[in-house]
């Protein structure tokens, strides 16, 4: 069954929080908190908490990056130094530790940063298309609550959202 969306805009975070609490306790059939998305100009951890656990996995990718990057880097550097046309320089060992450590350290950071950024974009679903229900004011000073729902329960949800002095409630067909 095709789902439909609705978006309510609030100017006060407290009202938005209340709306969320109401949604959570509403018990509408087929409605899950996972279908609720908050759109806000800044991060509102107090609101996100109400949505339930939404874990972040970025750090594991970062760990993968900092483990793999420097190891492959070190191996590549050392084998480049030990290639057929290896060069003795200044009496130092051909595969010297301190310089390789310096480079490995840089690679450690570089791969960490790159992995973090890459995984973040993946996790944030960026680059992506804006959802049709987007209001420019959520990037200014309003808080939007976007709910994905069965068309059947739409009125109920709109009613709950409307309880807490929303500035506006928009639906898919509002467009």
């Amino acid at each position: 069954m095709k789902k439909t969306h609705t978006l309510a805009l609030y100017s006060d975070p407290d009202e938005a929080a209340n709306a969320l609490k109401d949604l959570k306790s509403s018990g509408i059939s087929g409605f899950r908190m996972d279908d609720v998305i908050i759109k806000s100009p800044i991060d509102h951890p107090e609101l996100s908490e109400l949505l339930g656990p939404r874990p972040v996995y970025i750090q594991w990718f970062t760990l993968l990056g900092v483990l793999l990057g420097p190891t492959t880097g070190l191996v590549l550097i050392a084998s480049a130094q030990a290639s057929f046309i290896y060069q003795v320089r200044g009496g130092r060992p051909v595969v010297p530790f301190p310089p390789d450590m310096v480079l490995t350290y840089e690679l450690f950071i570089l791969s960490g940063v790159l992995m973090t950024v890459l995984s973040t974009f993946v996790a944030m679903k960026l680059p992506g298309n804006r959802s049709p229900l987007y209001n420019a004011s959520v990037s200014e000073d309003k808080i939007g609550i976007l709910v994905k729902t069965d068309p059947a329960s739409l009125p109920q949800i709109n009613e709950i959202l409307g309880r807490h002095k929303p500035l506006e409630i928009m639906g898919d067909n509002a467009r």
Binding site: I42, S48, S83, R89, L103, G112, L126, N129, R130
Partner: protein, 489 residues
């Protein structure tokens, strides 16, 4: 009336002080919509000074390009560099620019990690400064190369020659470190800018809108995005801080691993890092004043924030001074006769003027920051911050030139070597290049982080809501100490 003189004036003062509240970093009249409006306005219509600065920078840059083309075509000889004096201003200015970048990271990364909120209105342009100074510094790596057209030999990539760059060379470490730093801070800058780009996208029209739309990648400010964003941003900040430290330490190894007198110093890495932070902080102060005026950011770049910045600068200046003096002291009491002669030569030889100029500009001048008048007068502060940076540039000149002029081998000493106009032209061009890029950036991208200032306002409001405003109603943060000169410079 005329006879009523307070019998205990000191008492009055004491009493008055009781009521001076802790200044807030931002005024209370700043609200979220206002932030959007103010910052977006900076992208549209800056003061005319913007164009003056931009075109002067463009002119300087064009001259630098002319000099470089001349040098490229004719040979490095036009720079008047010679056998002992192989580097001259190019490497000195290279270190200077690398150093400039470090404070941007300090503000954006370290202060982010320790939740120093006052950084929020000013970290964005500092981070941009980091990126552009690194780009400028990278130019000098190319400029000083005798065979610029073969620069790709330095890059490690599989090639038909089957040879690799020399990984033991500090120059390759440099290249790696700068590359890493540039990539990371560019990503860091971009990452932090995405929510603001979305704001721009939502408010712009035409070509700009297309640009912002492309760059904001479709950011919508959802809770999931915010959650990941915060973690990623913090993670990157944690990477960036040690990276910044490592970059300038690595730059210092260019010198510290060699045997030249005055270079072969154990304390060079921390000395370089602190020097970098120092010059970076004064650079940030300079840009603070310039941006505040040019883009009318009076409401965000406030006196309390500037005060904190100055305090930080002063503290760093003192640490740097200590490290510098320690370097001299260890050289002086050390057993390396050549290094000692080199130190004496620096202070009394052909480059004594530059040496004492550095001592004056970089060690004595910071003490003027203790004067309240200096801290509050933007014109004076601008001049002082520039003097500090001149001092730091002289410090880099001091590291390169006298060491070459009087190293281990007496036959090749040089007396009073001085760079040619081509070198000066390229150095001037680099300032033009940086200013041009930076000004362009500020014109195109929000140089004050909107969402973080919003957070700041939000937290300030939450704080007030929880604890109540302690200050009397008439004493707002901005009102406590009136803006000097009516907020103009």
């Amino acid at each position: 009336m005329s006879h009523t003189v307070p019998s205990h004036p000191q008492m009055d003062v004491q009493i008055e002080r009781k009521f001076v509240p802790k200044q807030k970093d931002l005024g209370e009249d700043v609200n979220w919509a206002q932030i959007n409006k103010d910052v977006l306005r900076s992208l549209e219509k800056p003061r005319p000074a913007f164009w003056i600065i931009f075109f002067s920078a463009l002119a300087l840059f064009s001259f630098g390009v002319y000099c470089e083309v001349y040098q490229y075509q004719t040979g490095m000889g036009v720079s008047d560099l010679n056998n002992p004096q192989v580097w001259g201003l190019y490497i000195a200015t290279f270190i200077f620019w690398i150093g400039m970048g470090h404070s941007g990271t300090l503000l954006s990364a370290l202060l982010h990690i320790i939740h120093a909120d006052w950084r929020k209105p000013i970290y964005r342009y500092s981070e941009a400064m980091t990126t552009f100074t690194l780009m400028t510094a990278a130019l000098f790596v190319l400029v000083h190369m005798g065979r610029l057209w073969q620069f790709y030999y330095v890059v490690a990539y599989p090639n038909e020659r089957w040879v690799w760059p020399n990984f033991t060379s500090p120059l390759v470490w440099d290249a790696t470190a700068i590359g890493t730093y540039l990539t990371s801070s560019l990503l860091f800058l971009y990452m932090g800018m995405i929510p603001d780009l979305a704001i721009c996208r939502d408010n712009a029209k035409g070509a700009r809108r297309a640009l912002y739309k492309f760059l904001s990648l479709g950011w919508q400010g959802t809770d999931r995005q915010w959650g990941n964003f915060k973690v990623a941003y913090m993670t990157m900040a944690c990477f960036l801080m040690p990276l910044a430290v490592s970059v300038h330490s690595i730059v210092s190894t260019d010198f510290a691993v060699s045997q030249n007198p005055g270079w072969h110093v154990t304390s060079f890495p921390p000395y370089f890092v602190l020097g970098a932070l120092y010059s970076g902080c004064s650079g940030i102060i300079t840009l603070f004043i310039v941006l505040r005026y040019v883009f009318r950011f009076e409401a965000y770049m406030t006196q309390p924030i500037l005060n904190k910045l100055i305090k930080m600068t002063f503290a760093i200046a003192m640490v740097w001074t200590y490290l510098d003096l320690i370097e001299y002291a260890t050289t002086w009491y050390g057993s390396d006769e050549v290094a000692r002669q080199d130190l004496v030569y620096r202070a009394t030889g052909d480059y004594a003027l530059q040496f004492w100029g550095m001592i004056f500009c970089a060690m004595v001048m910071p003490f003027t920051l203790l004067i309240r008048f200096v801290r509050q007068n933007y014109v004076v502060l601008l001049i002082i911050s520039l003097i500090l940076n001149v001092g730091m540039w002289l410090e880099r000149f001091q590291i390169i030139t006298p060491t070459f002029a009087k190293s281990h081998y007496p036959w090749t000493w040089t007396a009073g070597w001085w760079p040619s106009w081509v070198q000066w032209g390229i150095v001037a061009g680099s300032f033009g290049w940086f200013t041009m890029l930076f000004m362009l950036y500020c014109k195109i991208f929000p140089s004050v982080s909107m969402y973080e200032v919003k957070e700041m306002v939000h937290e300030q409001n939450m704080h007030d809501k929880l604890h109540g405003a302690q200050a009397p109603a008439h004493q707002t943060a901005l009102g406590a100490i009136p803006e000097m000169n009516g907020g103009k410079i």
